[in-house]
């Protein structure tokens, strides 16, 4: 790779509103440049986790290197970097963008500019990327490329008259996109002779190679044997291998120099040492300062995860450890619940991240899990001056020892078409939002700004937003510190016994409502048992809501006709099956899904 001419490199990403064809275009580009034959192509090469393909979202950053022979006869190296596609992974997105010099903006020829399109463009512009628009889906009967081009120019304010009009699905005009990448996306800069300065935009763990760091070389050169230093974590290692990204494989090369995108392996055992956003430099000849923008990403949402079968506790630990190898933002530590036994308190970037980890544990590691209601980190200021960061509601000190509590607040920006402004404002008010302002970005579109408590948005805010705006609203948030708040711990007593795994922290103003709903929900979830079971919600010793699960109903004395035992057996089997998915708490059997029921309180 030595001597690759920087002017022949293009580092870019593709940004788009969901469903506007980002992944399909990536597939076409890879296919066009002959990296894979179409027979080898599995649709959407870059989303290579089964879960990613299913959910249609990208979870991990991915990169691929493509060689393109342009019309001018020259060969160019394209590094296409795919970015995660969810607000939970915002920081990763920003680091991936920082590894690029330009971005292809894909806009649907029928739908035009959408809220997310704008959010993504602004994010790209923030990172000084040159944005190159592409009009996709021109094969649709409803396509209006002219109108969309005008929209791009009017709303976003970037030149779009010569944007390629393509159909990523059918392959129309893809070559034009590649040509424009050559023309419009700037070649990287940087001095191959300067001290090493490389940006980590992702890292994964491979059982053979150890940690594989994905990086963009901003300055200098790295090769086998280079002693490296991660400037933020302080980890040191010697480079074992450098290389670039083939489609679905790593291809070693001699060296990576300024302007290039590739990977480094360096006998590192833990992805925690290679934080996204950190700067790699040469330990013997360090650069004067790290690249800007690094921050340590901390989990924002916590929940307890317990194996449904207590004996699988070690398996759960193994699985979490393996997942953590690839996901430095996943945290976990052992905890014990009276109701659920041994498990882990796990920290996640957001609810989607939680769901993804949960699904992966269940699918890839075949674990049956009981997950408790997710919560955020509260700060508890005790009367003795101590401050506790509370991740598990059960650990809340006695109210008499608490001076006051604080909860995390986010600044949220919601883009919404004007017809839904009222509905979305209602939603934000319900979630204790503080209105901060609104701006129209065009006649029919506005950005609403709110301060919202994080614990009000981690459950189902995103879903509620989508359903109240018929899918049109998009939402982004950033942490905005902690604020004092009137918070209480709501306990649930089943058959007079407190079930620790069901306790949660809630704002005092909504405690009654939540408690009532929680009892109602649990009444539905808990099947009748031998005796009557009271379900109570309590704050401290004060009962605020109560429901009762009646004792088991008398069985119907049906006629068993003509010896039809099979039918009777099926009935009994169904009854038996129901018992299996229960957790014994005291002498009450509670179905596993009841522990998540706090999440579904807003189901109508």
């Amino acid at each position: 790779m030595a001597g690759t001419d920087q002017s022949k490199i293009r580092n870019f990403c593709i940004i788009a509103h969901i469903d506007h064809g980002k992944s399909t275009l990536a597939d076409r580009i890879i296919e066009m440049t002959g990296l894979l034959t179409s027979r080898e192509m599995q649709s959407q090469v870059l989303d290579n986790m089964e879960l990613e393909r299913e959910r249609g979202i990208t979870i991990k950053a991915q990169a691929v290197r493509i060689v393109y022979k342009a019309r001018n006869g020259e060969e160019y190296i394209f590094n296409l970097i795919d970015t995660p596609g969810h607000v939970d992974f915002n920081y990763e997105v920003s680091r991936s963008l920082a590894a690029c010099d330009g971005a292809i903006l894909v806009v649907d020829a029928a739908q035009g500019v959408e809220a997310q399109t704008l959010a993504n463009v602004y994010l790209a512009l923030d990172h000084d990327l040159d944005v190159m628009p592409v009009i996709n889906k021109i094969d649709l009967p409803s396509a209006e490329p002219e109108r969309v081009i005008e929209e791009i120019e009017d709303i976003i304010g970037i030149e779009a008259a010569d944007a390629p009009r393509i159909s990523a699905k059918t392959g129309i005009n893809i070559e034009e996109v590649l040509e424009q990448v050559v023309e419009k996306i700037p070649a990287p800069g940087g001095d191959a002779g300067a001290p090493l300065q490389a940006l980590i935009f992702d890292s994964i763990y491979d059982s053979y190679k150890g940690v594989i760091v994905f990086c963009r070389i901003k300055e200098g050169t790295v090769k086998k044997g280079t002693p490296i230093l991660m400037m933020a974590t302080g980890a040191r290692a010697e480079v074992v291998e450098v290389g670039y990204f083939g489609a679905g494989q790593f291809i070693p090369c001699e060296e990576l120099s300024a302007g290039m995108v590739g990977y480094i392996t360096a006998s590192l055992k833990n992805v925690k040492d290679t934080r996204v956003g950190d700067t790699i430099t040469n330990a013997q000849e360090p650069c004067s300062q790290p690249l800007p923008g690094y921050k340590k990403v901390n989990p924002m949402v916590y929940c307890g995860m317990y194996p449904a079968d207590g004996a699988k506790y070690p398996d759960l630990r193994d699985a979490l450890e393996k997942l953590q190898l690839n996901d430095a933002s996943l945290q976990f530590e052992p905890e014990t619940s009276i109701a659920l036994g041994f498990g882990y308190r796990c920290g996640f970037l957001g609810l989607l991240h939680l769901e993804i980890i949960q699904e992966r544990l269940e699918r890839e590691y075949n674990l049956d899990l009981v997950t408790t209601a997710p919560g955020v980190i509260y700060k508890v200021y005790k009367t003795n001056g101590e401050v506790i960061e509370l991740t598990n509601p059960s650990n809340l000190p006695d109210p008499s020892e608490i001076e006051y509590m604080e909860e995390p607040i986010v600044k949220a920006e919601i883009m919404v078409t004007s017809e839904f402004i009222g509905a979305i404002m209602d939603l934000c008010q319900e979630r204790r939002g503080m209105y901060e302002g609104m701006e129209y970005i065009e006649e029919t579109r506005a950005v609403l700004r709110y301060r919202l408590p994080l614990n009000e948005i981690i459950y189902d805010f995103f879903d509620a937003l989508k359903s109240r705006s018929r899918g049109y609203a998009s939402f982004d948030y950033e942490m905005a510190g902690y604020e004092q708040s009137e918070l209480v711990k709501l306990d649930i007593l089943i058959n007079k016994e407190e079930v620790d795994a069901l306790s949660f922290i809630v704002h005092a103003g909504t405690a009654y409502e939540r408690g009532r709903k929680m009892c109602e929900k649990l009444k539905e979830e808990i099947p009748r048992q031998l005796f009557e079971i009271p379900i109570q919600a309590a704050i401290g010793s004060k009962i605020i809501a109560r429901e009762t699960v009646k004792a088991m109903r008398k069985d119907v004395l049906a006629k068993c006709y003509g010896g039809d035992i099979t039918r009777k057996k099926k009935l009994l089997e169904k009854q038996k099956e129901g018992k299996k998915r229960m957790r014994q708490v005291g002498n009450v059997e509670i179905p596993q899904k009841a522990f998540m029921s706090v999440l579904k309180l807003d189901d109508k």
């Binding site: 119907v556 006629k559 003509g562 010896g563 009854q575």
Partner: protein, 362 residues
Amino acid sequence: MKPLELYIHIPFCKKKCNYCDFLSAPADRRERAAYVESLCQKIRSFRELAEAYCVATIFVGGGTPSILSAWQMEQIFKAVKETFRLESSTEITIEMNPGTVNADKLTAYKEMGINRLSIGLQSTDDRELAALGRIHTYGQFLETYSMARAAGFQNINIDLMSAIPHQTRESYEKTLRRTAGLAPEHISAYSLIIEEGTPFYEKYREGKNAGDLPDEDTERLMYEDTRRILKEYGYHRYEISNYAKEGFQCRHNLGYWERAEYLGIGTGAASLIDNQRFTEGEEPEILSQEEQMSEYMFLGLRKIKGVSKSRFREEFGSSIEKIYGNVLEDMKKKGLMEEKGDYVRLTERGIDISNYVMSEFL
């Protein structure tokens, strides 16, 4: 020679009741004749199997078997007797509904050897009968019942139903007392179950029109009333829903719970022969030892006296405690089961929630 129970299914009725999901429907004269003919052929086709057995009980069920003519029933019994060996004291039951028999038909039944009648009454309240979609009134039942007695039948069962629309505890008690007052030898008391695919299912699904139906607690009280009131008249409960005067337990019914071998003939009828369960036209299910043991338990527990521990050991070669020790302990601790001598049985509370207990043995 092994004992065998014979079940013969007649899938015809005058009119489908609102709650009925049994295999039965109205049919015209021609269909009925064709069915009887093929049924007789089918009965005869078991000649080979019949050689190893001696028939202990016969039950002609439906539908409403009594809507067949006396001559048709005679053909069926002719086929049975020409194919199977019958015990001298074979219990032979036929099901009937009020208004479908006359004195001649009853006499003919008697001559065929039928020695037990099972009459579907369900309620003595005409409004309740109408709500169920029954074809008869209480008055018509009385007529049929006295004709049966006059014809010399000395073993009669009456079917009753609780938890039916418009029924109250008082009206149910009246039904129980009127019925028991007629002194039938046997009373079956089931509760209404709303099954999918019936008119009631549509009417009452998802709690619709729930006001018509007795509530859960009333239903439970009705069950208790049944036992208490019938006891006054000399009936003892020998199975969860069956009551008899001394010596008149239904042998055929008990056979099912004791896993006697039985052969069901006719549309949809089920059989248990040689530890294989089969229904006509379907793959037989071969029961493993484990399944046999589990059936022994959950079926046997329908009997009030329970299941015999010594018979369990005889049949399966290991003790009931060894196989179900944990479950039995748990159930006893919860007050749902108890032991009495050689028997393990449900307690009153266990009877209330019998499915819960029985499913523990699966």
